[in-house]
Point group: C2
Chain length 213, copies 2
DNA sequence: CAAGAATTTAAACATTTGTTTAAAAAAACC
DNA sequence: GGTTTTTTTAAACAAATGTTTAAATTCTTG
């Protein structure tokens, strides 16, 4: 049942990995309901029985991909939240990171939102990642600077959506925005890039430039 | 084929309307791919053949619902954009309207984003609504106030996403936010309501309170 | 009321879907 | 090299899905 245990040789791109990569592409594009086992097999260029040979079921394969996407979605974010840098720089970096993540995975956010909406129980397995957000240094750093008067009084639960909504909304609605403003891919890229800087300006402006007491 | 043409009596809730209402609920909750004809028939409490008797196909029924949702999504927005009120008040009203719309239709935004992403061609039939946004008074009012120096220099294509992303992102990610911050429905309502006011403050602050030349 | 039209129903239809089987091919092992 | 194990394949499976049929029921209308 198990494949070779010899770890001294680099495992040439295995069938399992090719299935994962194809499944990632297809699930991200079409969602769990819209993707068929045959879609994934075709995208991977393998026989349809192999998906179940390696992953036992479409559901199990999906969960494996979904959890990888949840990690991708949150891990970089948490890393930055724990960095020993000023709040101002931290927020700018969070936005820049989110932009880069969305640029490299344009349908990631829509995929996550959608699948969590359809089946919230799927997130229970990924509760650890979310705990990390609660236990990060972000909220206490924020409240510390609030106390010092260097930042406007606000809670992390309100600030974090403010930070992430702008970029993610752009990509969640990428198809709609492109239709609405008649942009092609290059046009959207330029638009999104400009928007990123505006958003950093707006949020830092709001947070740090205010009538201090 | 046609039902009674007598318009003098109010048409008791017709089967067609019951199907539409059920389809609306099911499609909004599960999307086109996730919803089955039998789901809709069950939700409407009617025989499964009736959906095709009245709408010819699942696709045609969906398109009918989708276009209604596009109208719901954009119409109120366009109305406010054309109101003869100050930009400051207009933006606040747009956000309040968006909040009310999302509160009454929590999965509307995710539904629209998702279905447009899956099949952008579906929006071509709804191009009229989007043209209305271009031809609204919003951009010219904005640029007029920019010229007067009462508002920060920005284009509508950047400002509009800024206005709508905050509230919509909250509801697009409602399930995720509820899991992440361990909120129940009532908790989320209160959270969203607080957030609305913060967002109005942030955006108007950014736009109108700046180092004027 | 009776004839015709519209609506509703149960059943069936052909495809598609996720999954399994059993045999073939390839790889690993002694 | 021959045996065993692992991987891959074609074919089939049952269940689900969108759709249609044809009969039954209800409504309309003269």
């Amino acid at each position: 049942m198990k494949k070779s245990m010899d770890c001294s040789v680099l495992p040439s791109k295995s069938t399992e990995e090719r299935i994962r990569e194809a499944a990632k592409r297809v699930f991200l594009e079409k969602g769990f309901d819209g993707a068929t086992s045959r879609d994934i097999a075709d995208a991977a260029g393998i026989n349809i029985a192999l998906t179940n040979y390696y992953f036992r079921s479409k559901e199990k394969l999906f969960i494996s991909i979904f959890e990888e996407m949840i990690q991708l979605f949150f891990n970089g974010m948490v890393d930055i939240m724990n960095k020993p840098i000023s709040l101002r720089e931290k927020i700018a970096e969070l936005i820049r990171h989110d932009f880069q993540l969305m640029k490299e995975n344009p349908s990631l956010s829509l995929f996550v939102m959608n699948e969590v909406h359809r089946n919230p129980e799927r997130m229970v397995n990924s509760i650890g990642v979310m705990k990390q957000i609660h236990h990060s240094m972000f909220e206490e750093q924020l409240q510390q600077e609030v106390k010092q008067g260097t930042v406007r009084a606000i809670n992390a639960i309100h600030l974090l959506p403010m930070i992430f909504c702008n970029i993610q909304f752009l990509f969640i609605g990428k198809a709609m925005h492109m239709k609405m403003w008649q942009m092609d891919e290059a046009g959207f890229d330029k638009f999104a890039d400009n928007h990123k800087q505006l958003v950093i300006d707006m949020i830092t402006n709001y947070l740090f430039e205010f009538e201090k007491v």
